[in-house]
């Protein structure tokens, strides 16, 4: 009886630890994705206005991000908005530790032309 209880307890604790480890790994992946999305937004913000036209793809995921996020995909949407603004939407999706598609990280920002760029 005691042995059965001990085994049941061990299995339960092992399952809890596994779930916690998976969730922790997912949280770390999310933190890495948020950091990467921020870096990409900074790169786009630093680009000249003409290099961020809609349809262009001025940035790509870093190697470190690809290693950390298996199956990582970058979705970049740049759309013109009036007056003189561009809406930049960065979405990073990847696979979680169980191999399923994790909820993607999304970052949206707006870029405005510098005064000397004559827009």
């Amino acid at each position: 009886m005691a042995l059965a209880l001990a085994m049941a307890l061990s299995v339960g604790v092992a399952q809890i630890l596994t779930v916690v480890a998976n969730q922790r790994h997912l949280a770390r992946q999310r933190a890495a994705a948020v950091l990467e999305a921020g870096n990409l937004m900074e790169q786009i913000a630093a680009r000249p206005w003409e290099q961020t036209a809609p349809g262009q793809s001025p940035v790509s995921l870093s190697e470190a991000c690809r290693q950390w996020l298996p199956g990582a995909e970058l979705k970049l949407e740049i759309t013109d908005e009036k007056p003189d603004a561009r809406r930049i939407r960065i979405e990073i999706a990847w696979h979680d530790p169980l191999g399923q598609r994790a909820a993607p990280v999304c970052l949206v920002g707006w870029k405005f032309p510098a005064k000397e760029e004559g827009r």
């Binding site: 009886m1 005691a2 042995l3 209880l5 001990a6 307890l9 061990s10 604790v13 630890l17 916690v20 480890a21 922790r24 770390r28 933190a31 890495a32 948020v34 950091l35 921020g38 870096n39 900074e42 790169q43 913000a45 630093a46 680009r47 000249p48 206005w49 870093s62 470190a64 290693q67 950390w68 510098a114 005064k115 760029e117």
Partner: protein
């Protein structure tokens, strides 16, 4: 038939042995949970520090007029530092020290504010400054942590990038 009273020595030993196994299992499981919690706490602390540093560095860099990487002059900051020059004779220095980054805000040469951010233990932390785009980009690069260290996002290396001078110069006479 004579009724048996009490337990035999073998029964007692078996019962005590089973209880000991149960106690050992619980103790091992508790120890595992404690270690996992300690690791979790350390990881979260490092990640929060990196997030705070990223937010602060980007805010400072966007506001800066110029950025440069002065040669290291202090023994305590051998990995170098980042210097951001802002409006109104303000200057912000980010210095890499042992497992932390120190941010010092100077107003007209005197220290107005000082704070530190914890970094993961890593063999190499450095600043880079790249130009060529419309605005230069400063980056803090933390090399991947050695195997067996903390299992935080720093394990695969961390890079925080920030564009310098996005806000542009202020019109003459306008205070920041």
């Amino acid at each position: 038939m004579k009724r048996r009273r009490g337990f035999s020595l073998v029964e007692c030993v078996v019962a005590i042995g089973l209880i000991a196994v149960a106690f050992t299992t619980v103790a091992v499981a508790t120890g595992g949970i404690r270690r996992a919690l300690a690791r979790l706490r350390a990881d979260v602390e490092i990640e929060l520090g990196i997030e705070r540093l990223a937010i602060q560095l980007r805010a400072d860099a966007h506001e800066a007029l110029a950025a440069d990487l002065p040669a290291p002059v202090e023994q305590s900051a051998p990995a170098g530092s980042l210097r951001l020059t802002l409006h109104g004779q303000r200057r912000i220095d980010y210095s890499i020290r042992a497992e932390r980054i120190e941010r010092v805000v100077r107003q007209q040469g005197t220290v107005a504010h000082r704070e530190t951010y914890r970094l993961p233990g890593s063999p190499a932390v450095c600043w880079t400054l790249s130009s060529g785009a419309a605005a230069p980009i400063v980056a803090l690069q933390v090399a991947p942590a050695p195997p067996g260290g903390a299992d935080s996002i720093a394990r695969g290396g961390v890079e925080i990038q920030a564009a310098v001078g996005l806000l542009g110069p202020l019109p003459p006479g306008e205070m920041p």
